[in-house]
Amino acid sequence: MVKIALVSCGTEYSGIQKEIEKAANTFGGEIVIPEIDLPYIDESYKKFGFSAESSSLRLTIARAMAIVEGRIQVDAVFIATCFRCAEGALVRNEVRRFIQENTRIPVVTYSFTERTKADELFIRMEALTTTVARKSILAREKQEGLTLGIDSGSTTTKVVLMEKNEIIGTGWTATKDIMGSVEIGAKEAFNETGYSMDDLDGIGTTGYGRLTIGKKFNAELIQEELSVNAKGAVYLAKHQSGEATVLDIGGMDNKVITVNDGIPDNFTMGGICAGASGRFLDMTARRLDVDIKDLGPLAMKGDYRNTLLNSYCIVFGIQDLVTTLAAGGSKEDVAAAACHSVAEQVYEQQLQEIDIREPLIQVGGTSLISGLIKAVGETLGGIDIIVPEYSQYIGAVGAALLVSGMGKRQK
């Protein structure tokens, strides 16, 4: 059992305590609440230096202090406060930094509402428990045998065939029917390699459809995309030792993961707003009547400052872009504004919540949009960004890499 300390305020009164426990239990985690006495609460929050008005937040601080001071031994920490509570957001952020600066314990933060259900927390809990309990899998640095990695994403399905530490086949298709899309992707990946499914040593699945596909193929590895993408990114970027940050702006959600020697030690995951996702760029490309592949080069020629974009929202933001076009604005400027808007929003909502470690490895389908890479670089003040070859297949590569050594199909 992975012991996950719950450092939170308001979960009981929001009625979501049970959901948090359910999510943790699903992935072999056990929620523990650091027990402390009253004098320690006063002592802790004074030592911490944050004079919170809410006594529950003082308790939150004291629980974090108990972890840092080693009064309680835990494997991971889940920090949660109510959505829209300003004081909660302040304490959540400072407590996260405090634990990260003083321990090596992985931390996940979340702001919840009364509608938060266990399945929303699944990916975070799974990544948290994987980081702790499956470190040995994540330590793999070289692919062996013949393995297939399948990443069933919200927008596209990616399939990668690997042999002897090389990518020998790739497949990419829009996600429609989950299994149908995998079949199309796999057919592409096997094409001209001379291999078929029967020759494989192992199959690894990740992404939203991982469980369905994993069951169908009896996959040796079924793994959430935070750990898999982090591993795939450092592998492809040839940066398996040392520190790095992995940024994946996906079709439906975004992931920012910090890694140390190839093992993720912290992450944030967005997904509240489509305006901060690849979907926004997809919509912009459609409105500009250009292929998504051409949006990046188009944006590189434009200047986002020439476009009035008042909203990050996928509906109202696109409306602003349409207004600019109607007023005679150029397609280049609109493309640049869309890239800048996504980069800025990813920064505001996620990147500032994590301590960015250079280099930043940008992956996923959106990493092929050069205008977005430029915008992310500008937003982060000229940070070193690596976009490795095959970056769009990141999850599939990670899955094919991690499953090697686990599959025994040919024995």
């Binding site: 230096g49 004079s51 959505f83 829209r84 300003a86 302040l90 952020n93 500032q352 919540e353």
Partner: protein, 149 residues
């Protein structure tokens, strides 16, 4: 001369006490003045524009209201510069106030976290306590001189 951050960050009395001892007070007014005299910005009364609360993200997450982040975009860099700090708790409005309890919590937290010599006092309620407060502040400021030497 030592740069001293103060709380409340716009307390004229604290700023005056610091300047009298030959130190530099990191008072809010100086930072606001720089913004107000900048002819490039036109966002009266304080020339805080849409960009400022975004700059405040360095100190507070996006979920924190824009008013807190806007205030922190000015107060935060002052604290980052501080070589010493004086915090007066439970002061009335007239002594200095930035009108936001959350900003108070965050800015005092950052002052403490900075790890520079910090004097924390409760606002006085009578003449004797007032004299005592001023004496303690003066002693603290003199001590900063000694450390410099």
């Amino acid at each position: 001369m030592v740069k001293v951050a103060i709380f409340p960050p716009n307390s004229l009395i604290l700023a005056d006490l610091i300047e009298r001892k030959g130190h530099e007070s990191l008072a809010l007014q100086k930072a606001v003045r720089k913004k107000v005299i900048d002819p490039e910005i036109d966002s009266p009364p304080m020339n805080i524009s849409e960009e400022d609360p975004i700059k405040g993200l360095k100190y507070a997450a996006i979920e924190v209201p824009s008013g807190v982040r806007g205030r922190m975009s000015i107060i935060g860099p002052l604290i980052d510069e501080a070589e010493a700090a004086i915090i007066i708790d439970k002061a009335p409005f007239g002594f200095g106030c930035i009108g936001c309890a959350r900003t108070n919590e965050l800015s005092t937290f950052y002052m403490r976290k900075r790890g520079v010599p910090t004097l924390e006092l409760i606002y006085p309620n009578n003449r004797d306590e007032t004299i005592d407060m001023v004496n303690k502040i003066n002693t603290f400021l003199d001590g900063l001189n000694n450390k410099e030497e």
